[in-house]
């Protein structure tokens, strides 16, 4: 990947990430986030991780972002109103700490033995679907299978959490009182 392309992508990613964090309308934040993700996806492809790069576009920019959008619309969220400043001093401190974190990471990176130098020549087939699939179904088989259980649990959990509480006329008054409105997953 030429240096110019990297600088462009990096600038794009950092700018849009800042946009995500700083804008007040959630939909605008989301759009900026998509740009960040796409920039990173292109970098993945440039690094030879072709499969992961496309997965990034499909899963993140496609599926997950749409989910976010739906939730924002479902809840009908508007731009945040400026209310009380909250813990202002704390927030200033938090910004300082973030800066310190970046400084520390850069220091460590500077001294890391593997950081410098050019990247090694990619072996043939590096980052291809075939190679990734071979690894997933051999070395990482157990992790892969466990992931499927995780996804199943997430589906069931999401459905149970997002379900509406049953309408009062269908449940007996005692059960409704016992469950209470605070437990939509009940019954």
């Amino acid at each position: 990947m030429p240096l110019g392309v990297f600088i462009f992508l990096a600038a794009l990613a950092v700018t849009s990430a800042l946009g995500t964090v700083l804008q007040r309308n959630p939909v605008h934040c989301l759009l900026a986030l998509v740009v960040t993700l796409l920039a990173i996806a292109v970098m993945f492809i440039g690094l030879g991780a072709v499969t992961v790069g496309f997965l990034q576009v499909i899963v993140y920019a496609g599926a997950i972002m749409v989910l976010f959008l739906f939730v924002i619309w479902l809840l009908n969220l508007q731009a945040e109103l400026r209310t009380s400043p909250g813990y202002l001093a704390l927030k200033a401190l938090a910004g300082l700490l973030c800066a310190a974190l970046v400084a520390e990471l850069f220091t460590l990176l500077w001294h890391a033995p593997t950081a410098g130098g050019a990247q090694a020549a990619a072996p043939p087939g590096y980052g291809s679907i075939e190679k990734i699939a071979t690894m997933l179904f051999s070395d990482y088989l157990i992790s892969f299978e466990v992931t499927s259980v995780l996804l199943l649990a997430a589906i069931v959990g999401a459905m149970a959490l997002a379900r509406r509480a049953p309408a009062p006329q269908h449940a007996s008054p005692q059960a409704a009182a016992a469950d209470g409105p605070a437990r939509p997953e009940g019954a």
Binding site: F6, G127, L161
Partner: protein
């Protein structure tokens, strides 16, 4: 060719931006988005360092991170919906039931 440290440095910057988002924003959905930025920053470091070592294990890790992120988004957003239904807010400042 771009030195590997540039990628890792970019990853560090993106991560810090994500942390700042989590700490500074009050809207839970935006906090969630910031978390996604942090995850992607780490993914970038994985892929870049894997390329440096000529190994693909980093990419497999990214695959798993994406899976977890998807699961987390699904459950997390469901929780946000449930909370919003009860409290009529997605403002982290007002969700302080854990208080003494």
């Amino acid at each position: 060719m771009v030195p590997m440290s540039y990628f890792v440095g970019l990853s560090a910057v993106l991560f810090a931006i994500g942390v700042a988002g989590v700490l500074l924003r009050r809207n839970i959905i935006v906090i969630f988005m910031s978390i996604e930025i942090m995850l992607n920053a780490v993914n970038l470091a994985f892929v870049a360092l894997g390329r440096r070592l000529g190994s693909m294990d980093g990419q497999v890790m990214v695959f798993f991170v994406m899976t977890v992120a998807a699961a987390e988004a699904a459950v997390g957003l469901a929780i946000i919906i449930a909370v919003f239904r009860n409290r009529e807010t997605v403002n982290a400042d007002q969700l302080n039931l854990m208080r003494w």
